[in-house]
Symmetry: D2
Subunit: 481 residues, 4 copies
C-alpha cells in the first residue's frame, strides 16, 4: 500500500519550524519520502489524501500507561481468561485518541505481551505496545502494594493466581537480596520478553506516601546495569527527593512521575544532575483547574504535596530537562464512574481536568504544560521524539523522517497555536494504515454502558441508609458510632 | 412408563413395621399399588426391578437447604447470569444422595423458582424444589445481615443488583412497619409465586449472636396469618428461647433450627407448648464426633452454646416434638475447601462430622440423632412424612402409598438397623423415574476441580509470609503489631 | 433558715395563669406558704429577697441526662477512682443552669448513687439526682452496645472492670432468659438502691439503627411489673414504631426519646394508645436551625429519619401526650470540642442548636418546642410538673406549693413570653438554699481548659498529613488507597 | 567511703584468666587499686567485704533497652505527668538484676534525660542511663510506626502531645529531605543533650517486615558524620541484609539487632565488612527452648525468618564480630501479663525463654549464646567491655581496672563455668556503693499487682462470649462471620 498526504503543514518533530508545501509519501509501513508532492515518485495504486489546511504531526506516544489497570475483583473475576481483550480495548481507545505508541509500565506480563504481539502481527488493532510487566519489587494486586484487604475476601487460590500473574519472580522478595542475587532474578524476568524494565526506587503501597526506599543504591545500580546488559532501557518508580537522586545515580534512562517528591521540591542540585545525565523526566502536571479542584477538596498536608509537585514541573521545564508526556492512563469501568463515592473523589473529577484517563488525559497534559509556559514545539517533542529517544526507539519512531515508521496524525487545527488543538484529530495513521477510529473500541467491555436494572431493583427498599448514623446519643457519638 | 419393584423390604413411612413380600407398582409419576407382586395387574412394557434383599423407603426430604448459598463475590461475579445452573448443580447433588424433595429456605427467588419450574416441567433434572425466596426481614448478601464489609469493595451498582435479587420488597425495612403494613408487603411478595414463607423471629447478622428480635409479637402473628390466608405454610428463623416462644405463639407451622437458643436451654414450658401446638421442629444436631471437635476448638462461651444446642435436641426428642430433618445443606466450592483458613475452621471439618454439606449432611443427621437415642422409625419419618405434614405436602409426598408420587430409594442395607445404612443408596426413583445418579451433577461448576496452576504460580515467590509478624520488639508487640 | 421572696410574678406550675402580688415563704427545705407578703408570719432571722419585676418558677427538671457520659478511654483511665468527681462536675453544671433535679437514665450505678447520696446529705453541691444505673439489657461501655472496637486496645482487665461497673447483673445476658428469670435478676438489681428502672425495648448498639427488639412482649411486661412491685417507675429505650407500641403495652410510666422511630412516623393508633395510657413522652426535638444543619450535612436516608422524628414531636403535641423535657444532656470534654473531626460533626454543631449539652440543651429544648407551637404553660409543665408526675415524685417536686420542696428559679424575664427567657436565670434556689451559681462547677475536670502545649509540640513536624492520600495512581485509587 | 572486697575470684574483663588472691579497693566512686589485700593502703573507716569463694565481675551493661516501652493508652494516660517514675522503676529493676549501665535506644527524650540526670546526681537510684531519645526517622507512638489505629480512638490533642514528646524534630519528615537538611535537624536534636544517636536504616512500622529503607546511603552517611562531629556514637536500626550493609558503609559504631535480616542470612561479604570496620554487633539470640516454642507456634514463613536470625547469630560469632549483649529489655505491666491473648503469644512465653524482659532477658541472652558455642570470656566481654568500647565509654566503664568507675557484681557462682551462674547475684556495687537490691524497685507502678476485683466484677455476667461465633449457617460462614 502506498499513501500520499498532500497540502498539510508538516510538523515533523525535528525541525524547529513546520514544513510548508511538502507531501509525505508512505510505502508499506514506513515513510518513503517527504518532499514536494510533484517531485515524489509514486506508484499507481496510491491513496492520496488531500490535507490542505490541516496539520500533520508524528503519532503521539505516551511514556506511561496501564492498559489493564482495573484490578478490582469485579473486573478480574468477571473477565478471567479474557485479559487480552481488556488490554485490546485499552489499546484501541488509546489509538483512537492519537496515541500510536504506548509504554505500559505495570501490568500482567504474559497478557500484555500477547496483546503486543497480536498487534505487531496485524492480528489485532491497537496502539503499538511496549511493556515492562511488573514493576520490579512490587508485590501483586492483592498485596500490601495495592489492595491487601481485598485478599481477605477472596479465596487464597484466586489471590495467588492473580498475584502470580502480575509478579512472577519479580516481587517484594527481592528486597531481602544482595545486588548479585537481584540481578540474577532480573535476568530471568527479562528473558521472558519484556521491552524495558521499571523498578521501585520508592515503595508503592505503604504508610509513608512513598518515602520509603525499596532498594539500596548498589542494588539499584545492579538492576539498571542488568537491563542495559540485556539491551533494554531502565526506569524507576520514584516518589521522593532522595529516591529521584538515587535513580539518576543508578543510571536510569528515565524516571516516572519524577515531579512527585512528597511535600518538598526537588533541589537545584538534583535538577542539574538529572539534566546533565540526560535522564528522561516523566511528568504528571496539574492544570490550573485541577489545582483549583485540589485546593477546595484536600487537606492542608495534601495541598503541600500538590504544590510541590506543581513547582517541580515548572522547575524541570526551566532547568531544561528532557520532558516526557505520560499520565498513568487507564480506562475506568462504567460502574466505577457511576459510583457516588468515586464521583466525589479526584478519580471522578470532570474529564476535562483529569490527567489519568487513557482517552483524554494526554490532551489534559498538553493543556496543563501550556499553562506552565512550556514552548509549543517542546511539548510536541515531549510527546514524540523525547519519548522515542528516552526509550531508545528513535531509530524507528518519534519523528516524521524518511525511513521511519509511518505513524502520524492529521489534525484539523494547529497544535503549535493552542494545546487544545491536539484534540482536533482528523485522521490517525499507524504503520502506514489509515485507522477507522470511529469504530474503536471494537468490543467495549469496561466501557460498555451499565446493564439495564433488573426488575427486582425497582422493588428493593433500602432499610434506611447505608452511611453513618447521626449521633442521637452523645455516649455513642463519643465512641465513634 | 410402568415400573414394578419386587422382593424388597418396604418401609413405607406409615406402618410401624416394614412390609415383607410386597411389591410396588408405579405408573407414570405415581404409585399405582402396593401388594403381592403376582396380584398386581401390570402392563406389558413394564420395567421390573428385582430388589430382593434390599430396602425401599420413601424419597428423603430435607426441610432446610440453600441451593445457592455461596454468596462470595468470586461466585456471584463469576457466575452472574448463570445462577440457575448453580442451583441445578445443587439440586442434582441433593438428588444423587437420595433427597428427592428439598425445601430451600433462603435464596434468590426468581432463580430458584425458575429452576423449580424447569425441574417440575421435566426440562431439568434435580430434586423437587419448594422455595421461600428471602427470609422476610433479612437484607441482602452484601448487607449487615450477611457480609457488610464485602459491600465496601464492590461497586454500588453490583451490590444493589445482588441485594435486590435476593430481597426485593421483603427486607429489613419491614422492621419499621406496623402489622398491617408488613402484611401488605408480604402479600405482594407471596404473589410472586413462592411455596412457603420464612420470616426472621430473631436477627441473622448482628452482634447479639441472634438474641435480638426482629418483629414484635403482633407483627409475627400478622406475617403467619398472611401466609395462611394465601394457603401456604409459615416458619421462622429462631435463635433464642423467647424467639422460639414467640414463633409458636404466632402460629408457625415449623421453626427452623429451633434447638439453637444461645447459651440457655429451652424451658419445659416452651417444649410443651411446641408439642401441644403441633409445631414442626427443625433440628440441627451435633454428633458425638462433632461435639468432640467443638470442645477442642472453641472457647468456653461458644461451648456453652454448643452444649445447650445439644441438650435441646435431646429434650425435643424426649418431649415428643414433631422433628424434621434439615441441615442448612449447601455446596462448598472447591477453592473454599482448599483454603487453609477454612480447613482449620468448623466449615472445613471432616465431611463425616459436618452437618452442613448438601451431599452428605443428611446422613450425618441420622447418625447424630441415632446417638441421641431417637427411634429408627422416628428418624425415617423425620426425613419423610413429618416434613410432608409440616409443609402440608402430605397429600402427595412423604410416604409410600397408593396414589402418592413415586419418590423412593432402594437401599442395600436396612436403615432401621443402623443410621449409617442410609448411605447405602442403590437406586433413586423420583416421579416414577429411575435416576442415573452416577451422572450427577451433569455440569459441575462449584464442585469442579481447582483449575490447573498457571505457569506463573510456580515462579511467584512470596515476600515472607502473610500472617502476623512475630513481635521482635516489645514496643510494637504492645501495640498489637 | 427562712427565706421570703417578694414582688415577683409567680408561675407555680399548677395555675393556668401566673400569680401576682404574692410572696413565697420558705422554711428549711420546704415551702412554708405562698401568700401576700404582709400576711405571712415570718421569723426574725429571715432572708428577704426582693424579686420585683422578676419571675419565679419551679426548679427545672430534666427527665433524661447522663452525668457520666464520656466513656472514652482517655476519660475513664485518667479519672479512674474519681468518677464521683466527674458526676459532681456535671451535677453542678446542671444546677448552675437551673436544673434542680435531674434523672440520670444510664451510668455507673455505684458512683451515681454515691454522688446522689452525698448531695442529699448536703456533703456535696449539685442537682438532685435520681438514677437508674444501667439500661436493663445493655452491655457495658466497651461492648457492641457502645464501643466494641475500644475493647481491642485496652487490657481485658480494664475492659472487664469498666463493663462490670456499668452493667453488674443487668446486661445483655438477660436477652437469653425467660420472663421469670429476667424478673429475678431485675429484683437483685433494684435492691441495690436505684430510683427507677429503664430497659431496652430496642437495641442500642448494633446495625439496625435501633430497629431490633431486645425483649419479647412478655419479658417487657415482666420487667415493668417487677419495677412496680418494688414501688419504682419503669421506662424504656425505644427506637421504633413497634418498640414504642410494646413499651406502652408493657405498662411503662414513660418512654425515652419516643419520637425517634426510624424513617417512619408513629401511627395515630399508637399516639392514641400512649395518651390513653397516660404514658410520659420524653421528646428530643429538632429546632428549625438544627433541621437546617441536618439537611445540609446528612444523606437522604438520615434526613428521612430526621423528618420523621420532627413530625412525631409535632404529632405528640397535637395528640395531647404528657410531654417531658429531656435531652440526653452530657458534658463534653475540652479536648473533644477541640477535635476537628468532632467540630465537623453534629456533636460539634454550635451550642445554640445543640440539644445534647447538659449546660444549655434544655434551653434549646424550649426554643425548639416553641417553634413547634407548644403552649408556653405546657412547656413549663413539661419541664417540671409533668416530669414529677411521670416519675411519681409529685408529692415533693414539680410545682410551687405549700409543703413542697423549695426548688425554684428567679428569672429576669418572663418565660411565658418567650422560650429564650429561660436563659435569664437570676437565682437558683434548691432545698431552700440560695445557690452560689457563679462558683459552679467547683472543680472543673472535663471542662477545664486544654493543657498548655508542651515545648516539644512546637517542634514536632508532621510527616505530611494524616488523612487519606489523594490517588496519584489510578490503580491504587481503584483499590481504595 | 572506702570499700575493700577480698577473697574473691576477680574476672576483670580484661585478662584472659581470672585473678586469684587479689582484693579490690574502692574509694568514692572509683576503683583505687587491685592487688593483694595486705599490700593495699586502706583508710580507717573502711567497709570490708569478705567475698571468699565468690566471683567479682564488672557491672553488666545492656546495649539496648527501653525504659519506657509500654506506650499503650492505658499506661500513657494513667501515668501522664509521671513518666520519670516509670523510667525509675525500670532503671531500678535493671540495677537489681546486675545491669549497672543501660543504653536506652528509644524513648521520650526529656523524661529519660531527667531520670538520667537525677540518677547521676544521686537523687534517684537506678542503673546508669545513656539515652538516644527517638530513633531518627521514626514517628511517634500513635503513628504508623507503632500504633496508628490507636490514634483513631484518642483525642487529637492527646495524640499530638504524645507523639511530640517522643519525636520532636527527629521524625519521619526527615525522609523527604536532602543530606544537608537532615544533618541540620539532627544538629538541633543532638544539642538537646542526648548521649548517642540511633537512626532508622530500615523502617519500623509498615508492611514490609522491615525491608524498606528509610534513608538513602548519602543521608545515612550525613547522619553518622553529624553524630561523630558532635562527639557521640551512632547506630542504626537495621532489619535487612542491605540495611545492614548500608549501616556499616555509613560508618555506624554499632548496629542494633544486626542478626535480624528477614528470611535471608547475612552473606559472608557483609560479615567480613562488619568485622573489618570494627562495627559493634548487637545480637538478639534465640535459645534452643525459644526456637522450639517458635517452631510450634509460628507459620512457615515466620519460621524461615527465625532460622535466618539464628544462623546469623552463629555466623557472627564465627566471623569474630564485636558482639554486644542487648535484648530490647522492657518491663511488662501486670495487666498485660494477665491478658489471655498475650499469654498465648510470644510476649507471654515463659520468662525463662523470653529475651525481652528487662529483669531477666539478659540472663537468657547468656544462656542462649552459650548454646551457640560462644566462649565464656567472650560472653562476659559482650556484656561489659565490648559495649563500653562500642559506645566509647571504655575510659570509665566496662572493666575492673584502677581508676575506672566502681561498678561490679559479686556472684555466688562462677559465670565462666555456666551461663546460668549470672543469675546468682550476691551483691551489686554501683559507683562504689553497695546497692540494697532487695528494696528495688522502690515504688512499683507497672509491676505492682493487679488491683483487687471490684464488687461489680463478681456479678457481671457475660452475654455469651467475646470471640468469633462458630458458623451455624454456611452462608454466614462463607462471608467470614
Amino acid at each position: 500500500m502506498t499513501m500520499l498526504i498532500t497540502g498539510a503543514t508538516i510538523i515533523d518533530g525535528l525541525a524547529e519550524t513546520p514544513l510548508q508545501g511538502q507531501a509525505i509519501l508512505i510505502e508499506g509501513k514506513r515513510i518513503k519520502a517527504i518532499g514536494k508532492a510533484d517531485e515524489l515518485l509514486v506508484a499507481d495504486d496510491i491513496l492520496t489524501i488531500d490535507a490542505t489546511g490541516k496539520y500533520v504531526i508524528p503519532g503521539l506516544m505516551n511514556a506511561n500507561v496501564h492498559l489493564l489497570c482495573d484490578i478490582r475483583p469485579e473486573t478480574l473475576i468477571r473477565y478471567e481468561g479474557r485479559y487480552e481483550e481488556l488490554i485490546a480495548e485499552s489499546a484501541q481507545i488509546a489509538l483512537k485518541n492519537g496515541q500510536t505508541t504506548v509504554f505500559d509500565t505495570w501490568g500482567p506480563r504474559r497478557h500484555l505481551m500477547a496483546a503486543r504481539d497480536a498487534i505487531d502481527a496485524g492480528q489485532m488493532i491497537g496502539s503499538r505496545i511496549y511493556c515492562a510487566g511488573n514493576v520490579i519489587g512490587f508485590d501483586g494486586p492483592y498485596s500490601p502494594d495495592f489492595g491487601a484487604t481485598m485478599a481477605q475476601m477472596l479465596s487464597p487460590n484466586f489471590v495467588n493466581r492473580i498475584n502470580s500473574t502480575w509478579v512472577e519472580n519479580s516481587g517484594r522478595h527481592l528486597m531481602w537480596m544482595t545486588p548479585d542475587e537481584v540481578a540474577k532474578e532480573l535476568r530471568t524476568y527479562i528473558a521472558k520478553g519484556i521491552d524495558f524494565i521499571k523498578y521501585a526506587a520508592n515503595e508503592h503501597g505503604g504508610q509513608s506516601l512513598g518515602a520509603f526506599i525499596s532498594f539500596s543504591e548498589r542494588v539499584q545500580r545492579a538492576i539498571v546495569d542488568e537491563a542495559h546488559r540485556a539491551g533494554i532501557t531502565a526506569q524507576s518508580h520514584s516518589m521522593s527527593v532522595e529516591g529521584l537522586h538515587m535513580s539518576i545515580a543508578a543510571g536510569c534512562d528515565l524516571v516516572t512521575h519524577c515531579n512527585i517528591t512528597g511535600p518538598r521540591e526537588i533541589p537545584d542540585e538534583t535538577l542539574d544532575y538529572m539534566v546533565k545525565q540526560g535522564c528522561g523526566a516523566v511528568l504528571f502536571p496539574w492544570s490550573d483547574a485541577a489545582l483549583k479542584w485540589m485546593r477546595e477538596n484536600v487537606d492542608d498536608g495534601t495541598w503541600t504535596t500538590v504544590k510541590a509537585t506543581d513547582a517541580n514541573a515548572r522547575n524541570l521545564v526551566k532547568a531544561g530537562a528532557r520532558i516526557l508526556l505520560a499520565n498513568d492512563g487507564a480506562v475506568m469501568a462504567s460502574e466505577m464512574l457511576a459510583d457516588p463515592m468515586v464521583q466525589k473523589s479526584w478519580m471522578g473529577a470532570p474529564e476535562e481536568i483529569s490527567l489519568g484517563r487513557l482517552a483524554t488525559g494526554h490532551f489534559v497534559w498538553f493543556e496543563a504544560m501550556e499553562e506552565k509556559g512550556m514552548a509549543p514545539m517542546e511539548m510536541l517533542r515531549a510527546a514524540t521524539r523525547n519519548i522515542a529517544i528516552a526509550y531508545k526507539k528513535d531509530a524507528d519512531l518519534g519523528t516524521l523522517e524518511e525511513g521511519k515508521i509511518a505513524d502520524l496524525l492529521i489534525l484539523d487545527k494547529n497544535p503549535l497555536e493552542s494545546a487544545k488543538n491536539y484534540r482536533a484529530i482528523n485522521k490517525v495513521v499507524k504503520d502506514g494504515a489509515d485507522i477507522d477510529i470511529a469504530a474503536l473500541p471494537l468490543t467495549p467491555l469496561l466501557t460498555r454502558p451499565l446493564p439495564e436494572p433488573l426488575p427486582e431493583e425497582a422493588e428493593y427498599k433500602h432499610f434506611a441508609h447505608t452511611g453513618q448514623r447521626f449521633p442521637l446519643c452523645a455516649c455513642s457519638a463519643m465512641m465513634g458510632h
